[in-house]
């Protein structure tokens, strides 16, 4: 499965990619994660690709994407053409206007949910990861939970895990 996370620097895009790749190897699969971002520490264009498969991985740059997770309009517009015909699109519905007639679309206000529930916009990426796991089954729920807990700042594990659970819930409902 080829997943591209994209948005602005500061939204936790690279961390989301790293955690997903790490959860996949915890599941015993092969996973490569790479990233590209601007010189700005916040606000610049940012993407992180994760390729998860059973065997060796040669592709490093994605031509086609199975799952596009877009947290900003400009990133969405830049990459939507690379989506496979039956590919899944997950967007933050407050930040991204999808293409008309987009199939397999999942529009959820991740950032706002994180703000309403935890008073932390920054945890929108964790809500998104929960939703992604439920919707795509790219990694197991347990591996993702464990990986999140061990990769967020000390003292925030519980809150981040809760945000993840919230996303899982939303994803399961949608199914």
């Amino acid at each position: 499965m080829r997943i591209r996370f994209c948005g602005f620097g500061g939204q936790g895009i690279v961390l989301a990619g790293y955690i997903t790749g790490n959860a996949a190897v915890t599941d015993g699969k092969n996973a490569i994660q790479n990233q590209s971002y601007g010189s700005e520490s916040r606000g610049g264009q940012c993407k992180s690709d994760v390729i998860v498969q059973e065997g060796a991985i040669f592709e490093l740059e994605l031509d086609e994407i199975d799952v596009l997770v877009a947290m900003s309009q400009s990133a969405h517009d830049m990459y939507i053409d690379q989506l496979e015909p039956d590919g899944m699109v997950i967007i933050d519905s407050d930040l991204v206007e999808p293409r008309e007639g987009q199939s397999n679309l999942h529009a959820v206000p991740f950032t706002d949910i994180a703000y309403q529930a935890f008073n932390r916009k920054i945890m929108g990426n964790m809500v998104m990861l929960g939703y992604l796991v439920a919707a795509s089954e790219v990694v197991s729920e347990a591996s993702m939970r464990r990986t999140i807990a061990s990769n967020v700042p000390k003292g925030t594990e519980e809150m981040n895990t809760k945000a993840y659970e919230k996303g899982l819930e939303l994803g399961r409902e949608r199914k």
Binding site: Y18, G21, N22, V25, N30, A31, I32, Q33, N34, Q35, S36, Y37, G38, S39, F58, E59, L60, E61, D63
Partner: protein, 382 residues
């Protein structure tokens, strides 16, 4: 010798972190550096890890002092390292030459990004290959290794230290932003299965010791400061005693030995991966991150019935010209994909010497797509 310590296990690491762990496994206990994208993660990791292994991490005021600092630490008997990217590597050039002249084993990691100048801080480049060989003034022989994955960042960092100790000279790990920031599984073996090389120490009585007299392997034994041997070391041209003697005879003798201590033993350094070369008509010569799309392209070419092969240079300097020459006598041509305007291709052309076609395939700030390399293979095959 065997390593005493390693973070044994399977880890999901990016190339920068794997490089730092490779250094620790190789026995590096002194890191001086100045953070710079995309090498910052190496300094960050070292800042956390060095105190855990009784080592020293020091953030210097710039890359000039960082380079000097690791030379001094090496004279103090520690295995030392710095990590930087293009702009910092440029600042290190003068004292890189000092390290070569004083014959100081140390490791410089350059995580290449696009240049010149500040260029592309966050995007990949392979533009510092020639700088490694020609960036410092005077005649030098460089040793440079080039990893293609986080795993190789670990493995080749260990090797870089071993070569630095073996040849008593600074060794450059030329990695790049893509490899540095790419995360994959890295297997770190138990310390007992990591082979290490330590610098040759003098065994003679201190009064008989000449600090710059090379033995059979042309490498002088090296004591640490405080071992009881009298040392004079300088960037000036010097005789076996280390005394500055600025004459043409001394220069000839010294530079000849510095060259030959590496070139006469270059088989110990050269490290090529051969892939489907036996019957190849078109050979892709590649290194670093470019070798991954190259391998894919070679496989695609084979599927289309083209006899393509790949020669991957895990060591860039000394350049493996004999391997290229041997191929040049019977293949139809070479393709050299690089994330620059043409650097290793010049060495390939030099070795091929007009016998057959050599095609450079450049790009900037990104990795080649396998299809681009495939098209170049097809063109050369025609």
């Amino acid at each position: 010798m065997k390593a005493e310590y390693a973070l044994t296990g399977r880890w999901y690491l990016n190339g920068d972190l794997a490089c730092a762990e490779g250094a620790l496994a190789a026995g590096c206990r002194f890191f001086a550096g100045y953070p710079i994208t995309p090498a910052t993660e190496i300094a960050e990791r070292m800042a956390i890890r060095m105190p855990q292994v009784d080592g020293i991490f020091i953030q210097m005021e710039d890359e000039i002092s960082s380079m000097n600092c690791i030379l001094g630490a090496s004279w103090g008997g520690k295995k030392s390292m710095t990590a930087t990217s293009g702009p910092g590597f440029s600042l290190m050039m003068e004292n890189y030459g000092l390290g070569i002249m004083m014959e100081v084993p140390t490791v410089i990691v350059n995580v290449m990004r696009g240049g010149p100048s500040t260029g592309l801080p966050t995007l990949v480049g392979q533009g510092d290959v020639m700088q490694t060989k020609w960036g410092t003034h005077g005649d030098i022989q460089a040793i440079a290794l080039s990893p293609q994955s986080p795993q190789e960042c670990f493995d080749l960092t260990v090797r870089a230290f071993n070569l630095a100790e073996r040849f008593r000279t600074p060794v450059v790990l030329l990695t790049d932003e893509s490899v540095g920031h790419m995360t994959e599984m890295v297997e770190i073996p138990p310390p007992g299965s990591i082979k290490l090389v330590d610098r040759k120490k003098p065994r003679m009585k201190p009064e008989n010791y000449l600090p710059y007299e090379g033995g059979k392997d042309l490498v002088p034994p090296m004591p640490a400061a405080g071992d009881g041997y009298r040392i004079i070391t300088t960037g000036l041209t010097h005789d076996e005693r280390g005394y500055p003697i600025v004459t043409s005879e001394t220069q000839e003798k010294l530079i000849d030995r510095l060259d030959r201590k590496i070139l006469d033993f270059k088989d110990e350094i050269i490290d090529n991966e051969e892939f489907l070369l036996k019957d190849a008509d078109v050979v892709v010569v590649t290194y670093g991150i470019s070798s991954r799309p190259s391998k894919r392209a070679v496989k695609l070419a084979r599927r289309d019935g083209i006899k393509a092969g790949m020669l991957r240079l895990r060591a860039l300097w000394p350049f493996p010209e004999e391997a290229i020459q041997e191929l040049a006598s019977h293949v139809r041509g070479f393709v050299v994909p690089e994330i620059n305007q043409g650097q290793v291709v010049l060495e390939v052309q030099r070795a091929v010497c007009g016998q057959t076609e050599v095609k450079h395939l450049g790009c900037a700030g990104r990795i080649h797509h396998p299809s681009e390399i495939l098209s170049a293979i097809e063109e050369v095959e025609k």
